[in-house]
Amino acid sequence: MVLLNIIIWLPILAGIFLLGTPLKNPAWIRRFALLVSVIPVALALFLFLRLRQGHAPEIQNRLWVESIGLGYSLGVSRISILLVVLASLVGMCAVLVSFRTEQRPKEFFGLLLLMVGGISGAFSSLDLFFFYAFHEFALIPTFLLVGFWGGPERRQAAIKMTLFLGVGSLVLLLGLLGLYLKSGAHPTFYIPSLIEHYRSSPLNDLDQQILFGILFLGFGTLVAVVPFHIWAPDGYAEAPPAAAMLHAGVLKTFGIYGLMLTAIPMLPEGYSAFRYPMGCFGVLTILYAGYVALRQSDLNRMLGYSSVSHMGYAFLALAAGTPVAQEGVVVLMLAHGLSAALGFAVAGFSYSQAKTREMPVLGGLAKKMPAAATLFSMAALAGCGLPGLGNFVAELLIFIGSFKIFPVLTALAVWGVVISSTYLIRAIKAVFLGPVKDNGREVRDMTWMERLPCFVLAAVLVWIGFLPRSISDVHGSHPPENPKQWAQTRDPSGTPSL
């Protein structure tokens, strides 16, 4: 458990140290930030491998404010440790991507580290209070990073983003407190106890539905489900690459993770009442954001809409609720995190070189920056669901897992892949291919230092794409006897397990 605490608190303390230190030399600040961001990656990977080897998940539960049942509880399952790995990995890459930040590097890296620590904390908390608090905590540095280091419209975007996320979180808070208060005579915030409680004595149907609705609204806003998404494209367009990577890639999935961790297991009736609407919202998000992305001329906004759109699959899968679909959600969170981070990283680089994000005036950048073009294409192709990259695995599992439950919705979701291919392939062409235009004459390619984080992200993406089994749940899997038999009886893609 010490390890988990280090993963969370090391970046936070280091961030506070950076913010407060009178250190001036940017080189030392950078190195320090990098060092601090590498350690959690190693620790998180270590924890993941241990879990995979079958060690029991470690859980720490320490009462904090006894009289109201609030505790500082940490613990990771396979899913959450994967997300912690993702958070620390993307965090490290974000540090590397902005390694040469010249504007106030001390504050920049300090805030970035705070954000990374907050995200890891949110994913490894087992107490509703800290679960919520860590997420909110990560929003403050996001706000400052966007507002201070962002693009030309950064102030507006930062305020809008924070307002939406703030209000969404408040709604969420209402729902979480509902879960807390309904949990018996001595209410608790400890999530495993809550699940236990609600399993043995479920709430009445109406309460469940209301609570689930509130939680869905709250978590949904955090994930930018249509129509609560309008903060996302603006925010991501204006955010500095590092912040966009961390938020779009990792922090956003908090909403999905939260639904899986709290609402769905605790409120089975509410869930079953909301399954169909949830699936519809998911598909609406996929298609709507996809079509809107088609019309964007700003590269980053397009990526923003793309990121919104891809989260729709997760909602569809959660609505279907089969184990296969659920595993698809896990892979999706990872793969989307990596590909979104990669996309924003390279888009940020091309913006820094070409000084514009408008696709119509860009073109032919591949000539001058082949490495950037390759890496961006990988991110975009991942978004198209190309096999060999992680997103394909995710989408495939989601489609297989959801098709028997919602055939029509799933078919529409498959159409979403066509749409996302359309705008992403268009974007590759508009930005990198074709004849070189004026903006592309004075550019250079990425240096090795700039390539490194993108390589890391791309490599993990390819790794998941080719060997998805290395992250899947190896324990508890048995060889199937006869496929025809279990297809009919115990089909993990056809029976909701949640």
């Binding site: 669901g385 394909f392 074709g434 089994r469």
Partner: protein, 615 residues
């Protein structure tokens, strides 16, 4: 083991080249060519293994009991296709060395080419639908990369995009089809699926629509048609054929390998692979046959009026693919054998024709307009002779490979559907016409440009592959080559000589008409206005442009409008403005006048008391 090697050798080559050897051109080329040749040798070696029992698969992904496997099948179908792919592939790799000699991006080119080989072999050997889909998409990727190889050219980038997206459209159907298969059978495995027609009904699931389950027949029809969508995209059948002619923007060896011999044939291969499924539905079969027929005829018609040498060959490819699909859709056990046979011979002679065209294009410094050529038979004798052999095979001249396969194909059509047979014969006539036109205009007569005047025979890197392929194009159809033995035996009833007579008449009519019209012409003699639709490729591109730009574009614009104006400005900013307005209003009460404050204080108290006590 040998299969793992065959499968992953090209990937290793691609990875090495793309990661480390992008700048080291000769090294990249040698790695890639060596891998391709080694693969061909391995594949021929594997042939001797005879029927291989199902290979133990590896688990690629699992969720509890649910597993997606990664394994290989190596039945007769896979054997034939593997030989074609690796054999033609190796030859084209060698040709590429010569063709790309001057190019500055050679390293990248060979990397992509090896990536393609990896993906294509993956399709051939895939043991289940998911695995096939995986490589299916990867093939699409390598095709995208290779079409857009000269990405600085806008047209190339455009064509690559078009190819990718059109294929994606087909793959949309394929993905749904695969999901339907999962619904039906609960397995993706081809071998498990093969017996599906004999399964007890309770083991078969059906689709549901609006809460009612659909009958098994319709479910199977829908499934088969959805899967066929994938083939329509990849094999460029009507109405998704538009990408293939544009794909000629890629380097010519790529056109030969990917867009003539192997990848576009993957659709036909897949139909053969799941023949048990599509043949279970008569309706699906007739749709497939109809699509094939339309493609064959339409593409042949268009080919007669094209001027770009590669485009003529591209439309010819379309038309021949239409043949293969058409015959697959004729209901009979093992009819796909005719399609596969034609696929094989077509791979040889169409690769040959494209490589010949490539040799011409290099000699003419990238001139592709046939009206700028002429009189090349004397200057490039070897190219001319090999090209001639390819053309004769394509026409179906007796004695050449194309004759045998086309004969089988037409016989099947004749026996089952006279209308399709008529279309087949008409297409054969048009084929003879356009290929003769090509031969006459390019090789006969006087040179019509400076480039054609000074053309020289290409280097040995290019001519040797031409010779090898021309040999196969010539003799590939004979029994002793053993191609038929790799296919299931077709039981064709006796059908006399009608088919042969008809096809020879068609051949003679077509070629003589072309000879008559085009002999010694300096420009296109057929300028009638009736031919405008043909010249304009039946306006398909315009229709698609209209659909994409106007329908989809307008829809997207509408949603974007909603997003920008309704959600963002009206709802979000409107709400913000409203709240701010209320705030301003409230602040108005704050006059700063102390009498007003005292009054409001008192009024508030009174109001409160009234509300609570007197109301």
């Amino acid at each position: 083991m040998i299969f793992w090697l065959i499968q992953f050798l090209p990937l290793a080559a691609a990875a090495i080249i793309l990661l480390f050897l992008r700048g080291k051109h000769s090294l990249a080329a040698s790695v890639s060519v060596l891998a391709a040749v080694a693969n061909a040798v391995l594949a021929f070696g594997a042939l001797s293994k005879g029927a291989v029992p199902p290979l133990r698969p590896m688990v690629w992904m699992n969720v509890g009991l649910f597993q997606i496997e990664f394994g290989f099948v190596f039945d007769h179908l896979a054997k034939l296709m593997l030989v074609v792919v690796t054999g033609v592939g190796a030859v084209i790799h060698v040709f590429s060395v010569g063709y790309m000699e001057q190019d500055t991006g050679r390293g990248r080119y060979f990397g992509y080419l090896s990536l393609f080989m990896f993906s294509m072999i993956g399709i051939v050997l895939a043991s289940n639908f998911i695995q096939m889909f995986l490589f299916w998409e990867l093939v699409g990727l390598s095709s995208y990369l290779l079409i857009g190889f000269w990405y600085e050219r806008d047209s190339a980038a455009q064509a690559a995009k078009k190819a990718f997206l059109t294929n994606k459209l087909g793959d949309f159907g394929l993905m749904l089809g695969i999901l339907c298969v999962w619904m039906l059978a609960g397995t993706f495995n081809f071998l498990d699926l093969a017996g599906i027609t004999q399964w007890p009904p309770q083991h078969i699931g059906t689709l549901e629509w609006l809460g009612r389950s659909i009958s098994l027949d319709i479910t199977i029809t829908v499934t088969a048609l959805l899967i066929f969508c994938g083939a329509v995209g990849k094999s460029a059948q009507f109405p998704l054929h538009v990408w293939l002619p544009d794909a000629m923007e890629g380097p010519t060896p790529v056109s030969a390998l990917i867009h003539a011999a192997t990848m576009v044939a993957a659709g036909v291969y897949m139909l053969a692979r799941i023949y048990f499924l599509i043949s279970a539905s008569e309706a699906a079969m007739s749709v497939i046959a109809a699509i094939g027929a339309i493609t064959a005829l339409m593409a042949a018609l268009i080919a007669t009026q094209q001027n770009d040498i590669k485009r003529i060959l591209a439309y010819s490819t379309l038309s021949q693919l239409g043949y293969m699909v058409m015959v697959t859709g004729v209901f009979d056990a093992h009819n796909y054998a005719a399609g596969m046979f034609h696929l094989t011979t077509h791979a040889f002679f169409k690769a040959l024709l494209f490589l010949g065209a490539g040799s011409l294009i290099i000699a003419l410094h990238h001139e592709q307009d046939i009206w700028k050529m002429g009189g090349l038979s004397g200057k490039m004798r070897l190219t001319f002779l090999t090209f001639l052999i390819g053309a004769l095979a394509l026409m179906g001249m007796p004695g050449f490979s194309g004759f045998f396969s086309k004969e089988d194909l037409l016989a099947v059509l004749y026996l089952h559907n006279k209308l399709l047979f008529g279309i087949g014969i008409l297409t054969a006539l048009l084929t003879a016409f356009y290929i003769t036109r090509l031969l006459v205009v390019v090789f006969i007569g006087l040179p019509r440009s400076a480039a054609a005047m000074h053309a020289q025979e290409s280097s040995g890197w290019m001519t040797v592959p031409l010779v090898i392929l021309s040999v196969f194009s010539w003799i590939g159809g004979y029994e002793f080559m053993g191609i038929q033995s790799l296919l299931p035996k077709m039981q064709l009833p006796e059908h006399g000589h009608v088919v042969m007579v008809c096809s020879i008449i068609a051949l003679a009519t077509g070629s003589s008409a072309a000879l008559f019209i085009y002999w010694n012409r300096a420009s296109e003699p057929l300028t009638s206005r009736i031919l405008i639709p043909i010249r304009e490729k039946f306006y398909f591109d315009d229709i698609y442009n209209y659909l994409v730009r106007n329908i989809q574009g307008t829809f997207a614009m509408f949603l974007n409008f909603i997003d920008q104006w309704v959600l963002d400005i009206t709802v979000f900013r409107g709400a913000a403005a409203l709240l701010r307005g209320v705030g301003v209003g409230l602040r108005r009460l704050q006059t700063g006048n102390v009498q007003v404050y005292a009054f409001l204080f008192g009024a508030g108290t009174v109001l409160l008391i009234w509300w609570e006590l007197l109301r």
